[in-house]
Amino acid sequence: MDLVFFAQDCINGILMGLIYGLVALGLTLIFGVLKVINFAHGSFIMVGMFVAYWAVCLTGLHPYLALVIVIPAMFLFGYWTQKLLIRPIFIAERDVREPTTVIVVTTGMWYVLDNLALLVFGPDYRALAPNPLKGQMLSYGEIFISVPKLYGAIASVATAGALFWFLQKTRMGRAIRATSLDRGAASLMGIDQWKIFNIAMGIGTAIAGISGAVLTPFYNVYPSVGIPFDVKSFVIVVLGGLGSIWGALVGGVIVGLVESVGPNFMTSTWTEAIVYGLFLLVLFVKPSGLFGQKHDW
């Protein structure tokens, strides 16, 4: 195999992998704090993509400037989702050891959001019309790099860095970390755990919105766009370790590399099977993932 092509595939894989990492970042934060696997995460990304799409189409903003609208809108969306739908379940299931009802509620949200989008926007694939980034490439010799993917990868690392800084350095971040370690003890220290849950869910959803906005310039927007990202995010967070920020990026890069290098050796559908195989393997061998902590929950 030609070395140039291999390098090209690796670069593509890493860039796309970092974007996958961004997609999974919100999921891992929500899990880390609430211990809830948000089955509607893919739908949140779909909602983020639609918000970004309409923000650009209606106002003619630059696709990345749409973040000004996407981030607060999605934060509020997540905040109220937690407050109205997930909190009552938490209260009802306080004594249950393995709360699976939350999974069901988030799955119900997935059904509602995806099909509501189908009902309102129809099944069409939409591409951003005023799109200054479309098809732009940087070229270094024989290697070509897609500009929107490069920006997406940069956004991914920047978001992860900002989240890390927020969790480590700010007062709110410390409160979130304390709550994720031990809810009961955090409550006794005067932290309002419900407020922390709302905010964590809001931030996680806002990050899903960022990844949606980053995907929109080079990805089609349609109602079921979230489903492949949903399953992929699960794979990534389990690979990297549920609840770990950097684990999400590393897991994303692994999946991205498998997906872009794999088709050189086999059909691309088999690559998909390998991703699931990898997922099951990690679950069996080290359920806490590469960077995850073993915890009792």
Binding site: I37, L119, T269
Partner: protein, 339 residues
Amino acid sequence: MTQYELKRNCLAGLLVAAFALPLVISSPTYLHILIMLFLFAYMTTSWNLVGGFAGVLPLGHAVFVGIGAYTSTVLWLQYSISPWIGMIVGGLLAAVVGYLIGKPTLKMRGAYFALSTMAFVEGVRVMVENIDMLGPFKLNGPRGLNIPPLSADQSGFWAFQFSSKEPYYYIALIMLVLVLALTYYIANSKFGYYLKAGGEEPEAAQALGANIASYKVAANSLSAFLTALAGTFLAQMTLFIYPKSVLTLDMSFELAFIALIGGRGSIAGPVIGALLLRPVSEFSRVYFSDSLPGLHLIILGVVLIVVMLYQPRGLTEPLLRLFDRVTARFTAEGKEAEA
């Protein structure tokens, strides 16, 4: 008449009514809806053995449906072996797969278990879509397998193909009644008690010497066996199977949804859940699928969220309480209580 006798008579009446229904209803559309209702109630009852009693959330039962459907179809198409035999073979195969996948996964915590079973379905679907020939067996990849319809005199019990809907109706009904009886038996046996104990208080049950993990794995195998039988039935009724029809997350999720709305862990739960959900999805599919695509899934999602918010343990409990309140007036005990 005591409350217990009344309940027994009601059940017997329902059963007689169910068996007599095809005498009244002749429309194939309505019979089809009823058959699917029975079939989903059957599959959910099988699911309930693990998902209900053992207290975990399996989202991978579509794999077993797929194994049942593919095994009997391949045996019938390539070797002319009756689907009835294929049904048993598929069931046994599914039981083995259920054991192999249950052994490592059932040790996991709730969410991890749900995720791994999900990945299992998706992985198997992707694989089947890529396999044209599995050794000597033709799976035909994403195009799936077509069972050629037989003429009226060739079809019959042995071929598991009928020209009218009634035989399918009775087979589905009998399968449902048998699996309910089996569930009732298990729920009142030592095996059932161990399962429930493991689902609710794993540590306490373990401390009392119950080997929770092995009971869960056994329940998973049994559940896989029963679910696979429904796969064969589905294949013989639709006469066309492909990976996206029998091996999808949608199927897995629907079983879980029906059980959760009805009430997991109870015997009547899956039946009540199917009674509530199947007609909604069938009718909205029939009447709104062109004008309002996806509406039935929105209804499904909303119903699910609302039920989980207000009745996290499902609708069976409140419905039975209502039944008791209404029937209390007709029974001797009820009258005494009122007086």
